[in-house]
């Protein structure tokens, strides 16, 4: 790490000279890397969820553009095509746009860290840049923060690497996200961050002594700050993420920088603003509060009637009590729109409705005598008469039948083709989640969308699927699955609460452990929590080898890939070797089923060993490595006891390919036996013969040598 430090400084001197001409750049991460909005986010990436009938990413881009950003890199992962389509259609991709948007997609991003490492790898940023998520809604003027940041970097010779933008707001304020609550100790004069800690779930706070002794006269400890998730970063930030491949989030980064401050000499600063509005829609609770703040015009000039996305027909009028109406809205006799209501175009509302604090999308139909309070309805929603909805999100295309009552914090998910239907005559309790996706479907799709940090969601469930909708849950004519209430499953309860951000798991690590152990009881197999990593690694190695075989990849590259996987999953070299051996030996079973005869098995395995011998040779070098490899072979054949005769052939082949040395094999044979089974194994005739042959061969060669 420290060796890179020198290089960075050199690189930055030149960039500083160019500073004036360089356009301001921004990195926008259009992925949340968690599943807070699941199952809505299954069909629609979070950045495209509508907030006040406008996709969230548009707010972020508008914010960036209004601060003078001229070049934005949008990084997408989950459902990147949808985001791309949306952006290409939007005004940001018109040739006249003052902010040039580049879209970069990859399925490999798993965290903010991956994105920034990619930024560094592709060498995208040349100067200070703004880092935001695709769900940040803000009207803060960061130009002053930017100036301060640049000034600091000039004066302090690039010591400051990041300036985080915070807004003053009292603790417990509704637009403060509990997860993001931080306590910050900072130098009052230089605004330098001395200590940074998330307070969520903590009863005690600890401050290291050195922050009180670092020599400044004044410092502040603040808890009244709202994290806007806007950071002004130096190009070094991307480099630092590359150097420290374990940094996943900005939080890791900030902590890492503060811990290593004395070694690397990097500092982080804070910009606290009182004006403006900035918040990140990180869960449904935040969605609700940001949406209502927007309708109440806190984010001026990003108001619904401004139509800043410049789309045809999106405009609406603003009248007293913050009532916004789009084009062609019809309102029945006696209906009241009390206050803070936004109604999208072509929506019709029946008679005697009572609507307050709600956002209704385009093309919705609402029947008579409907009561809506703090409801968020997206597009094409159909609500029948006598429905009551309180504090709920109703997603695209959902249908709510007569006399349904949705209590607080319900939310419906959507699916483009067939939509959720609820009712009639039903009352959904608080915290219900209804989706067209069956909760248990989730696992199968996991491979491609497992982007989550919250690993507690959906690990093991039996795969029996109920296809029928439960009329007791969603009503006689209902379509859809209840996600939480009926299942009474701890996982889902947690999920639902997570969605609303009410109860937050104090310690994700301990949590995943308990989850894992629960899981293991289900499978009645004892596994330690770390096994998961090893298992995942094994799967990845298998995948890599398979691909290598199909696409004829050179063994050197396979080695590279396995090496990087090793770092990603934090696996020791010994384990790598054992897993590799195991994967290769099991490969024929994987491909052709477990019912192979010994002959078939060896027939398919031996060529494979030949192809992959360079990979083995790369990992098996020391004497101990040979023994480890052999013990892995032994372990496997102990499990597959019907194929024990194949073992000799495998060993023979490996010996011939010079993967294993004869001394190692002999040593293993003589000393390795630890229990009855392995002793049994060594009594195998073929093996005996092989060893015999080896010994003779050794004698011969030594004789020859003489």
């Amino acid at each position: 790490m420290s060796s890179r430090g020198g290089k960075q400084k050199k690189g930055n001197v030149t960039s500083e000279q160019e500073e004036e001409e360089q356009p301001l750049q921004a990195v926008l991460v259009a992925d949340s890397f968690n599943r807070r909005f699941f199952p809505i986010s299954k069909d629609q990436p979070r950045a495209l969820l509508p907030l006040g009938n406008v996709a969230m990413i548009d707010y972020t881009l508008e914010f960036l553009t209004s601060t003078g950003v001229q070049e934005t890199f949008v990084f997408c992962c989950w459902m990147s095509n949808k985001i791309k389509d949306h952006l290409l259609k939007s005004k940001w991709c018109r040739p006249t746009s003052p902010n040039v948007v580049h879209i970069i997609t990859s399925d490999l991003y798993r965290s903010l860290g991956d994105v920034l490492r990619d930024v560094d790898a592709k060498n995208l940023v040349r100067n200070d840049f703004i880092l935001v998520y695709g769900d940040v809604v803000s009207n803060i003027d960061v130009s002053q923060a930017l100036q301060e940041h640049r000034h600091r970097r000039k004066v302090d010779k690039n010591i400051s690497v990041m300036t985080m933008v915070f807004k003053e707001s009292s603790p417990g304020h509704k637009s403060r996200c509990e997860e993001d609550d931080v306590i910050v100790a900072m130098d009052s004069k230089s605004k330098r961050v001395l200590h940074y800690q998330k307070t969520q779930g903590l009863k005690k706070l600890q401050f290291p002594m050195n922050i009180f002794q670092h020599g400044s006269d004044e410092f502040e400890i603040r808890h009244d700050l709202l994290d806007c998730h806007i950071s002004i970063c130096s190009p070094q930030v991307a480099e630092l993420f590359t150097d420290n491949f374990d940094y996943q989030t900005r939080n890791d980064f900030v902590r890492g920088i503060l811990v290593n401050e004395e070694i690397l000499g990097n500092q982080i600063h804070l910009y606290v603003t009182q004006d403006g509005y900035g918040a990140r829609v990180s869960n449904l609770q935040m969605y609700d509060s940001v949406s209502s703040d927007m309708v109440r015009r806190w984010v001026y000039p990003l108001t619904p009637e401004a139509n800043f996305t410049d789309q045809q027909g999106q405009g609406c009028t603003h009248s007293r009590h913050n009532v916004y109406r789009g084009a062609e809205v019809s309102l029945g006799h006696g209906s009241q729109m009390e206050e803070n209501v936004l109604i999208g175009r072509d929506t019709s509302i029946g008679a005697n409705c009572h609507i307050s604090n709600s956002v209704i999308g385009n093309n919705c139909t609402i029947g008579d005598n409907v009561v809506l309070d703090r409801a968020h309805m997206w597009n094409n929603v159909h609500i029948s008469s006598n429905v009551e909805i309180h504090q709920s999100v109703v997603c695209d295309g959902a249908v709510v039948k007569e006399a349904v009552r949705l209590n607080k914090q319900c939310y419906f998910s959507m699916l483009p083709v067939s939509q959720v239907v609820i009712g009639p005559n039903l009352s959904l309790p608080e915290g219900t989640v209804v989706s067209m996706h069956h909760p248990e479907e989730e696992e199968e799709d996991d491979d491609d969308e497992f982007l989550s940090d919250d690993q507690e969601v959906g690990h093991s469930k039996d795969k029996t699927r109920q296809k029928a909708f439960n009329p007791a849950e969603v009503g006689p004519e209902g379509k859809g699955y209840i996600w939480k209430a009926s299942m009474n499953d701890t996982e889902d309860e947690e999920l639902a609460q997570c969605l609303w951000g009410l109860v937050l798991n104090p310690d994700p690590e301990s949590d995943s452990e308990s989850e894992a152990s629960e899981e293991s009881q289900d499978r009645s197999r004892s596994v330690s929590p770390e096994i998961d990593d090893v298992n995942a690694f094994q799967l990845e190695v298998l995948g890599t080898l398979q691909r290598g075989l199909e696409e004829n990849i050179v063994c050197d590259n396979l080695v590279l890939e396995i090496n990087s996987l090793k770092y990603a999953y934090n696996i020791t070299l010994k384990e790598v070797m054992q897993i590799l051996t195991r994967v290769v030996l099991e490969y024929p079973f994987q491909q052709q089923g477990t019912q192979l005869t010994t002959l078939q098995y060896t027939g398919s395995l031996l060529p494979l060993l030949k192809t992959w011998s360079p990979v083995f040779k790369n990992y098996i070098k020391r004497a101990q490595d040979h023994l480890d490899c052999l013990s892995a072979v032994e372990e496997l054949f102990l499990e597959q006891d019907t194929h024990q005769t194949a073992m000799v052939k495998v060993l023979m082949k490996m010996y011939q390919l010079e993967i294993l040395e004869e001394e190692a094999i002999l040593k293993w044979f003589s000393t390795g036996a630890t229990n009855d089974k392995s002793r049994q194994l060594r009594k195998n005739q073929g093996l005996q013969k092989f060893i015999q042959w080896l010994k003779e061969a050794e004698d011969e060669s030594s004789e020859e040598g003489e």
Binding site: T96, P98, N139, D141, S143, K174, P301, E305, T317, S319
Partner: protein, 342 residues
């Protein structure tokens, strides 16, 4: 292709202007006076006239209308943009009529008799092509621009007619026009200005600083004290954001209070408003900007007041003083009735 280049350049300029307008209201963008907005709009429309592809006056009007609609939609609270679009449309109509050779007077006047006899409002199709039309229109727009440049000075010049020695004058908030007006009067006369601060944005403070720099005796009062102080005031001089078609005002919040207090004490209320602020609209929209974040409290912070025409004594514009009841007449002179809805 130079033509395509020109057009791309034009759309780029328009987009940039729209983006500016959209952010014009917030703290992040450049805050400009409406005078500047009016000038920029007109200059942009001149550019459109010069560079867009059109063969007849009808085409041009269609283009201007289209752009005008977008511009007004970008910042609905800034009416000057729409007003300038209307002015330019009117110019095109006049120039077209002149090219045709018909007299302006007959074309423009809408009498009851004419309405009854002609059947439709106008059967003019503006399709004929005239060689000099473009040059003439641009010339006329240039004249309009010159007029816009001089508005504030023209208004300020009339100050001495309205402000006398040792008067006590009240104003509210900050208006560039009023500031120039008072400063002009201060060159010859001594008087005392009371400024209502106009919370929560407190533009009044800035106004007071500027006035006192021009060595005018100035007092700042809280908005709540307006009525209490009114009895001492000889004259109220205010600016406005828009003059509406009925002679009413859409002005900064607090103006209505001042106007009512002035009416109660029979103090004359003078409004300094350049002609470009005259809008054919009668709609009232409130713009709300919020600054402080509080939870569980709804904060309403309307920016504009509507002041009914009955409370206003006199308008002072760049073409002289007018009573509110005469506004409709000015309106029909400045804008063509067919253009009122863009």
């Amino acid at each position: 292709m130079p033509g395509a280049d020109k057009e791309a350049d034009l759309t780029e300029r328009i987009e940039a202007f729209l983006a500016d307008l959209k952010r014009g209201g917030c703290g992040t963008g450049p805050i400009r006076g409406s005078g500047e907005t009016a000038r920029e709009t007109t200059a942009l429309l001149r550019k459109v006239t010069a560079q867009a592809r059109w063969s007849s006056a009808g085409d041009l009007m269609e283009i201007i209308r289209k752009e005008g609609r977008r511009m007004t939609a970008a910042q609905p609270s800034e009416t000057t943009v729409g007003n300038m679009v209307l002015r330019v449309l009117k110019i095109i109509r006049e120039e077209y009529a002149r090219s045709r050779g018909s007299s302006e007077e007959t074309d423009q006047q809408e009498s009851l008799h004419k309405l009854l006899t002609s059947g439709g409002l106008s059967d003019e199709n503006f399709r004929q092509h005239y060689v000099h039309l473009k040059a003439n229109v641009i010339e006329a727009i240039n004249e309009l621009l010159t007029e816009l440049e001089g508005t504030t000075d023209n208004i300020a010049m009339q100050a001495l007619e309205h402000i006398h020695s040792n008067e006590v004058i009240m104003t509210v908030g900050r208006s560039r026009t009023v500031e120039a007006f008072l400063k002009d009067a201060a060159r010859k006369r001594k008087f005392h200005v009371i400024v209502a601060e106009c919370a929560p944005f407190c533009q009044g403070h800035e106004m007071a600083t500027n006035l006192s720099k021009a060595s005018i005796e100035t007092t700042v009062i809280a908005d709540a004290a307006i009525f209490a102080v009114m009895s001492r005031v000889n004259k109220v001089i205010i600016g406005t954001q828009t003059v509406l078609a009925n002679g009413g005002l859409r002005a900064v919040n607090g103006t209505h209070t001042v106007a009512l207090a002035a009416r109660h004490h029979s103090t004359p209320l003078i409004v300094c408003a350049p002609m470009f602020k005259l809008s054919p609209q009668v709609v009232i929209t409130t713009v709300v900007r919020n600054r402080i974040i509080l939870s569980k409290v709804n904060v309403h912070c309307p920016v504009f007041d509507y002041v009914p025409p009955e409370l206003i004594t006199l308008f002072i514009s760049n073409i002289g003083g007018n009573a509110p009841s005469y506004i409709y007449r000015l309106m029909s002179e400045l804008y063509h009735p067919e253009d009122h809805d863009l």
